[in-house]
Amino acid sequence: MSLRVLMLGWELPPFNSGGLGEACFGLARALSKKGVQITFVLPKKLDVHMDFADLIFADVDEVAGNLAGAYTTNDSWSSLFPTNAFPPAQDYIGGALKFAEKMGLLAKRYKGSIDVVHAHDWLTYPAGMVAKRVLNKPLIAHVHATEFDRTGGHNPNPMVYAIEKKGFEIADKVLPVGGFMKDVLIEKYNVDQDKIQVVYNGIDDCRRDLAPVLTAFKELGYKVVLFLGRITLQKGPEYFVRAAKRILDYEPKTIFVVTGSGDMEGYMISEAARLGILDKFIFTGFLRGEERDQIYQAADLYVMPSVSEPFGITALEALVNKTPLLISKQSGVSEILKNALKVDFWDVEEMANKAVAVLKYSALKSDLQTEGQKEVRLYSWAKTADQVINVYNQVVH
């Protein structure tokens, strides 16, 4: 009999604010292809489609019209609510707890027809813990980011930390997306080492060549260096701007494209202006789907200077779009990828040195592309799904 999984998520594409939604979607689809029956629960109604899974909405009451994005930090939450009308810290936590409350009712309907509960990140852990109790089934806590990653270690919210810690305690297995995060779980959350199994993310290799963009620049001989991700502390946007300054000293015909949005966007713009290089920057805002792939394909180099990056799915996205990679050694994906340039996020000089080499030597670009393409096929969601099924079988039997 096939495994029946109750999977709890917070967001799904196209209503995602980052990699979490993409990862949940990719994993759920690969699991279903392998015969796992998935009931996917989201906290509120969204116009999303999952033809491979049974999609359920818990209909959590909305707070201020919107649920907070999965990556919201205490600070950015405060900026959403300029008055003290809402006690900030509690509202997104409130959403997570409300989800848990609804789950208590919802889960009863699934008694006897679920084998495993699988929860993605802290916002769904309260709901996951409730489901485990009601159904009396094992709980898998998947960790895409911890509060330490989201805040860069600065001022982690104690309530979020408490929810995460409780979730890891109650869970039967904890699945971080990288080895570095495994260490964080052991050191900061005291998680039992034997309970942890690292499961790297995957990607489905199905990108085709798209119509070229940024052609006006390309025709003038400009090279394109891309930053793509949420513009937040965690992603290291300041290091990208400082490296850009150094790169331009050597390769003046370079355009820096910034795709994404976030609370440090203003800082990034003013920093580029202060360094006198704002004219070399293009800010596209958040892109998804084909537009996003077009930007990858236009880039001569994708730089991911993350300060802390549990996995870094964008690195794999870049590879399937044949974009050479320069990634920080502080990312989970750098633990597995070999055909990428790597650098410590703070080493702006080395970041510039490597970027200049890619822009200058076409052989380097082409080998990173061809070898990267070969390598990325090893990291399919199908492979990740096999590892997850293996974990399911451990806890079910």
């Binding site: 070999k338 340039l341 080499a357 200058k360 380097l364």
Partner: protein, 424 residues
């Protein structure tokens, strides 16, 4: 008769330090890494000397004293000899003692352990001449037989060596051109008159060089008497057993703790137990046996990995672009007529630099197959290319004499320790 021909290659490259684009135009010392990493040439050589060269030399000198029948063959790259002269004279002395026994032959090769034969015949010949002069000066002998870098061999190379009067040339005894024939005979290269070729018995050589410590190997542990027995079985259907390997096999690739030195100590006694066995140097073997047949190698065959070709050195785009760029500088470098500049250019020709840029095992996760002092092949390429950019800049500056520039150069030159030890 089974004549055992033991040949050892002794070489350490001058690795390029981490060299950034910001260093171009300022820093002309490419090889002076002084970190704790394996880019520190002196540190690496100190380790290899202590673990391998010194103990192996001591053992072999003793064996030569105790067994008058024993003879050996070595080849040394010129850049290894330079490094030994500069920092490890006592190691060089221990090699000299071996050669002074008169029963150790030294082979000819390129001074810089380069692949120049395939990129510039003239440059190749210059490096062979430099090497010959160096060997004469250091060891007082003149090589009679030739081996090319990485044992890279073709008909063309054999013809060249024949015309230059070499009596023998080494090659891999590879099935692709041997077919059903055995490597345990002496052959005549196609299109040559006098020269003979000695072919490496890769099975028996690799039993020592690669498989000795491999516990999953069905023949582990390998003992000297077992190995001597395999050698003796060749009597009746072969004449020479060519055991060619890196000298670092002893103590560095195969560790003392796994018994490699004990194996070596017992090997001559065990081999000589069979009355029909003996030891010969490369030239002695070529003289002792007639060529059994002709070998035809129109393409390049090397002693490396399962492909036995040059793909480990020039198999991808970064490798080919780097080596082409380097050799494209030949004319302008030589025209500049600056010994220091030329020496730097040549040290960059050492095949190891291109090997470090190899990506072919990288993707399969089989990175343990080769040793790389850089974090990745791409890092090796970036430092190398930045260094070549600096070299190009130095050529440019040399072309247009500027006063202020000369002043600066002088300052740099006096502050560095340029060895006279090229000594040629």
């Amino acid at each position: 008769m089974a004549s055992v021909c033991l040949y050892f290659q002794v070489h350490q490259p001058m690795r390029v330090k981490r060299y950034r684009v910001f260093d171009v135009g300022w820093d002309h010392d490419y090889f002076n890494d002084n970190t704790e990493t394996n880019l520190n040439n002196k540190k690496v050589l100190a380790k290899v000397a202590a673990k391998s060269y010194l103990p192996t030399n001591t053992i072999l000198l003793k064996l030569l004293e105790n067994h008058p029948e024993l003879s050996l063959t070595y080849s040394f790259s010129g850049i290894l000899l330079e490094q030994l002269e500069k920092d490890f004279p006592e190691i060089l002395d221990s090699f000299k003692k071996l050669i002074n026994t008169g029963r150790v032959e030294v082979l000819s090769e390129t001074y810089y352990h380069s692949l120049a034969f395939f990129y510039s015949r003239k440059e190749f010949e210059r490096q062979v001449e430099m090497h010959k002069a160096k060997i004469k000066r250091v060891f007082g002998v003149t090589p009679k037989a030739f081996r090319n870098t990485e044992l890279a061999y073709t008909n063309e190379l054999a013809k060249w060596a024949d015309e230059k009067g070499f009596t023998a040339i080494l090659a891999e005894g590879w099935d692709s051109f041997l077919g059903w024939r055995s490597p345990n005979f002496v052959y005549k290269p196609k299109g040559t008159k006098k020269i003979k070729t000695l072919l490496k018995n890769y099975k028996l050589s690799d039993d020592i060089a690669f498989r000795f410590s491999e516990k999953s190997w069905s023949q582990w542990p390998l003992t000297a008497d077992k190995f001597a027995d395999w050698v003796s079985r060749i009597n009746g259907n072969g004449q020479v057993v060519n055991l060619f390997m890196d000298y670092e096999t002893f103590g560095e690739h195969q560790w003392e703790a796994n018994g490699i030195f004990e194996f070596l100590r017992q090997l001559p006694t065990e081999i000589l137990k069979h009355p029909d066995n003996n030891f010969l140097t490369v030239s002695e073997a070529a003289k002792a046996y007639p060529a059994m047949d002709e070998v035809d190698v129109p393409y390049i065959v090397t002693w490396a990995d399962t492909e036995r070709d040059l793909s480990a050195w020039v198999g991808n785009a970064i490798q080919t672009s780097a080596i082409s760029l380097l050799y494209s500088l030949e004319k302008t470098i030589l025209k500049a007529n600056d010994p220091e500049l030329t020496h730097d250019w040549r040290r960059l020709q050492t095949s190891d630099h291109f090997y470090y840029m190899c990506t072919k095992w990288f993707s399969d996760g089989d990175v343990h197959k080769y040793f790389n002092p850089y974090e990745s092949p791409y890092d090796a390429f970036i430092s190398f290319m930045n260094v070549v950019s600096d070299l190009k800049l130095r050529i440019e500056k040399k072309k247009q004499p500027q006063k202020s520039l000369n002043k600066k150069r002088k300052h740099i030159e006096t502050s560095r320790n340029f060895p006279n030890s090229i000594g040629i």
